[in-house]
């Protein structure tokens, strides 16, 4: 009696172990084989990702959440739906894109009469954008990162009237990298996705980070 029970236990244990091993094997194989190499333009070895022997493509890479500014409609949910307060999503200023306008659509309210740094003229609810005179007629706009709440008001203004140099991005020093991003599931434009941690920003209009890994 005892022997039969032991044997059955052994059998079940073997079955479960085999099942787990098979699942792990399938997942690991798929992940290694999957052609979703997202090194993109920074890699010169492209077009044969299935046979790619580069360590970055073969090794397991971790992913982080990022939003694509090209899809973003500036609804403002990034500010409210993040599990963190304040949100880990903040406006990022891509200086290479900026026109340094005096009449900045991201800084000033559309109905402003005179251009000044007065708080009532500013679009930003927390006055997180700092305006600094560079030379006539150009002004530099810098975001005071801790003050920004990610409401996207400036992003909307800049993309409507300016170059679109202000873009929302997940700031990875603040992001907890939740298993399922709380903003992603409520994003109306489906702009969020998991991106490789080696290329964690999706800024538009410029090449990625200057010191980004150059491969090949």
């Amino acid at each position: 009696m005892q022997n039969r029970r032991d044997f059955l236990n052994l059998l079940c244990r073997g079955t479960i172990l085999t099942g787990l091993a098979a699942t792990t094997g399938v997942l690991a194989y798929r992940s290694v084989k999957s052609g979703n190499c997202e090194l993109g333009s920074s890699c010169s070895n492209c077009g044969k990702s299935d046979n790619c022997s580069l360590t970055e493509a073969v090794l397991y890479r971790s992913t982080v959440w990022q939003l694509d500014p090209a899809k973003c409609i500036q609804c403002g949910r990034c500010a409210t739906n993040c599990v963190m307060t304040p949100s880990a999503v903040k406006a990022t200023h891509v200086f290479a894109m900026c026109g340094y306008c005096d009449l900045c659509g991201g800084y000033l309210k559309p109905d402003t009469k005179n251009i000044s740094t007065a708080a009532e003229n500013q679009l930003c609810p927390t006055s997180a954008i700092k305006r600094k005179f560079v030379e006539d007629p150009f002004y530099q706009y810098t975001i005071d990162e801790p003050l920004c709440i990610g409401c996207a008001k400036c992003v909307k203004g800049c993309s409507a009237f300016g170059n679109g140099s202000l873009q929302l991005q997940v700031h990875h020093d603040r992001c907890k990298n939740c298993n399922q991003c709380a903003i992603a599931r409520d994003c109306p434009a489906d702009a969020y996705s998991r991106v490789p941690a080696s290329k964690p920003y999706l800024l538009q209009g410029i090449e990625s980070k200057p010191d980004d890994k150059q491969i090949g």
Binding site: R13, Y60, A96, G99, Y100, N177, Q180
Partner: protein, 421 residues
Amino acid sequence: MKKIFALVFLVFLFAVQFMNAYGIQRFPKPEFESGYVQPETLMPNPRAEVLAIMDIVVLIFCLSVVSWLVIKKRSRNKVFWMSLFALAYFGFYREGCICSIGSIQNVTLALFDTSYFIPLSAIIFFVAPLVYTLFFGRTFCAAVCPFGAIQDLVAFKPQKLGARLNAMLGVIPYVYLGLAVLYAATGTDFIICRYDPFVGIWRVNASFGMFVFGGLLLVSGIFIARPYCRFLCPYGVLLNWTSRFSRKHITITPAECIQCRLCKNSCPYDAIDMPVTGKNPDDKRTMGRKLIFITFLIPVLMLVGGWTGSRLHEQLAGVNGKVKLAKQILNPVSDKNQAETFEMEAFKSAGKQQSQAFAEAADVLHDFYIGGWILGGFIGLVFGGLIAGLLITKHHTDYTPNKGTCLSCVRCVDYCPVKVT
């Protein structure tokens, strides 16, 4: 001439209007003469990828040490200290991500959606505790899972719930697991993460609802030890079943049980089975009748469950983004004053065809129809199992930990008067 001017002007206006704001500069970057240096765009780096390997190493280390403490050392004290370490590392340092409970969804999504890239740590966090449980019992629950650790800390006055209530509440995790797998497989949502009660505590920062849920669990945890682990945890279902076939398992007494009943009261989780001795409560005939009843009952319950699940597939799919969008396209906002929803605005600006959105939603609905049958059948099976468990009495002579529900916390060992000399 005027007409041509107007036309050119209009074309220019349209060009400005439709020029994608990104990538094309309306205002070219000025050439500065004052030697102005353009500041660098702020892009903080994410957590180093190497640290994900460290999580795996810590997990394997904790599992090994705790299994050794439970099986060989049989020391409650040391297990407790390990649980504090797990609470500090996986809870407060790693802030609840990644965790084994949530990894169910990653694995499910990876199996169903080949485009999803599953990180190595998610695979290991799913598989490693199951493998250890298969050999040593639920040592993961004992002192590696931060959820268990924090609830164990507050279990001051655990009450007995009784076998019936325990069995009935024990059905909830199966339903939760079924729903979590359904929603993960259809790529809708990760509900285990969404309704994670303790992540707000790890991060000392969460929505009001999260805090209330976590707080309620901790307060009720004073009287009902580990309520999440026993009556909610979907990963616990998997551990429960693997633990039943474990090679080794903690034993209450190191030698012969002397039937003193001292251990029975020490278990806060009602996981010690009392001996069922004396006269056979069921003779062969009633036993046979019960078995026939159960073999008929279970398929009926599964069919009823599956049918109900398939009827409810539209309700279940209601939270899916694609289905929601299709519904909004079908019933646009009638009130002129009311603003358009962000979903509709995004849909229009993306320039996708309506038919495409409908086709996507129909695909999702179809998945939910099949998923509804499977989920319902699974729930029917679980209820059948519950009834079977309550009807059939098993015979055993000693006080033994129930291999399925025992969380290997080692409390009972201290209460056993039998000592090996």
